[in-house]
Amino acid sequence: MSLSEFFITFPEMSKESLRIFKKSIDGAYRNFSREYGDAIEAVFDPVLYFLVWFEKLLQNSPWPLVILVILILVYLGSRSIYLTIGSLFALLLIGYFGMWEDTMSTVSIIGVCTFMSIGLGIPIGIAMSNSDRARAAITPILDVMQTMPSFVYLIPVVMLLGIGKIPGLLAVIIYAIPPIIRLTDLGIREVDKEVLEAADAFGANKRQKLFRVQLPLALPTIFAGINQTIMMALAMVVIASMIGVKGLGQPVLKAITNQYFTMGLLNGLAIVALAIIFDRVSQSFGKRLQQHRSGSRE
């Protein structure tokens, strides 16, 4: 091989070794999933049961009751009569156009994903804010979770757990959990150092500082994270439907493959309506949490 050739063609590994390299990793993973797939699936059984139960609850309850409960939650969260009325119309239209059942499926999986993201994300965020080393370790993982194309990590998940709700749930959580982790960490780190020093001066221990000072003061930021997490979970609905998650994503997918424009548009608009309701409610709830910041002098 001459020198000029070296500079023109990249010295890559041989096709043969690359093939063996890929094959051996795939093979090893296949063996792993055959060996442990069932066991790992069993771990998620309780989540699956809950998910199915919640979905059935939403679908089988009388629709006026479901709408009433949703409107009550919307009003309690936002304290806005306009948003409540708007939500009522959106839900009625969704039902009228025959998307009620799919919408309930989507609401159930988004709800469960959001709660799991919050339950996992806030403790991870707290751990991150506590130590720079944890932060240095977790940040690149979050970067990967947010930028890696979802299809890529869907492959091993599907290989391991097959097609269905749980792989969908995992895919949504992987995509949607980073903001809540990042913003919990940020919110706690942003707490005024002087206020923390005051807590120290009065003899607060670590736990007291966390629950009485850091978390309450970080709450508005954490809420911005929850809002982001919900939005990203909704954005994953269509991709999750590719691996068998029922809901508004499936008709969208069907519409894409068959070029049914109106069907795609209607279901897409239903997703948008859900997103707007979730977003406005969680935002105005978050804003109410920081009322002490906007209080004016009297």
């Binding site: 005051a198 807590a199 001066a201 003899g203 221990n205 910041r293 004016s296």
Partner: protein, 338 residues
């Protein structure tokens, strides 16, 4: 003088990764600048020795960067000393373990901060209750105590407001009430009134002195304002570059400043306003038969008309109306001319 409450001995603080290593160098007289340029370590406190008497107000004064805020944080160990000891009632604070330190902070010290450092998410009564709730004191009891102190600092009716709804002066009253609510025997005040405007500052100083008459806490008060120091301090310590350059009463500082730095500090002070008759009077004077007199502990300014109008020396009486000496125009002229 009361017994010693806080005894600080040979206290050093060096900021940096390898602080212990440079103690010997500082002992041998390495200056703050040299330590910084050669070894990139900051000398915070340099061999501080200070005794604070029980129930007194000890003012610590200095320009910014002189180490005064560092020093006060060694009393409740918000900053760890590099070397030396801080004895409070003969107990060495620097040797406490973690849980002992928390107990100590919960029960023995209260702290007031320059920029208030109130908890913005809690209303006033919860702020005042903070120290009590940390100690898990029963709700009814802590409510009563908080209300008592809110009343004491004159914030009745503001219990359920949030800190940012209050003016700076009111916020610092909350800070004071919060520090007093746990009934600590030591009060640490870190430039507590520096962020307030002058009228409110004077007001707060008066209120502190008024409270102290009954409270009789041991107070360490940090300030860069000499007038404030002279007004509040039973004793005044002056720090320069982490070194304690002088510790004494207001009179000591004014009448015999230890070095140029202190001299510069006090040169603009109105001495007549601060000093008392006894600092400048003539103890060997002879009583005359005029009716006019001044008292030993009167401050000079308030007696100026009397002294200046009098043709001859003026009698000075002590508080039992016993003659102790005399004072003349010349005595006053002496202290006013420098």
């Amino acid at each position: 003088m009361n017994k010693t409450k806080i005894k600080i001995s040979n206290l050093y603080k060096i900021f940096g990764n390898n602080s212990k290593k440079y103690i010997p160098k500082v002992r041998n007289g390495m200056s703050k600048d040299e330590l910084l340029t050669k070894y990139n370590h900051v000398l915070g406190l340099d061999d501080i020795n200070l005794n604070v008497a029980e129930q007194s107000i000890q003012v610590v004064m200095g320009l910014s960067g002189s180490g005064k805020s560092t020093l006060i944080r060694h009393i409740n160990r918000l900053i760890e000393p590099t070397e030396g000891s801080v004895l409070i009632d003969d107990q060495d604070i620097t040797k406490l373990n973690n849980s002992e330190l928390l107990e100590f902070r919960r029960n023995r010290t209260g702290m007031v901060f320059q920029r208030f450092a109130l908890f913005p998410h809690q209303n006033i009564i919860d702020n005042v209750k903070f120290g009590l709730s940390i100690k898990n004191i029963e709700k009814a009891e802590s409510n009563d105590k908080a209300k008592f102190w809110i009343d004491k600092v004159g914030l009745n009716g503001f219990e359920y407001k949030f800190p940012n709804q209050l003016s700076g002066g009111m916020q610092q009253r909350v800070g004071l009430a919060r520090a007093l609510a746990t009934d600590p025997d030591i009060l640490l005040m870190d430039e507590a009134f520096s962020a307030l405007d002058p009228l409110i500052r004077t007001d707060m100083q008066d209120q502190l002195l008024e409270l102290q008459k009954n409270l009789k806490k041991t107070i360490m008060f940090i300030t860069h304002d000499l007038d404030e120091a002279l007004k509040l301090g039973d004793r005044i310590s002056i720090l320069n570059g982490g070194k304690l350059v002088q510790d004494g009463t207001a009179e000591d500082i004014l009448m015999s400043p230890a070095d140029e730095y202190v001299k510069n500090f006090v040169k603009d002070v109105n001495r007549a306003k601060v000093l008392k008759i006894k600092s400048i009077m003539n103890f060997s004077g002879v009583q005359n038969n005029s009716d006019a007199f001044v008292k030993l502990d009167d401050n000079i300014e308030s007696c100026l008309p009397k002294i200046l109008e009098s043709e001859h020396e003026l009698n000075v009486f002590d508080d039992k109306n016993k003659f102790v000496g005399s004072i003349s125009r010349n005595n006053v002229a002496d202290i006013l001319k420098n």
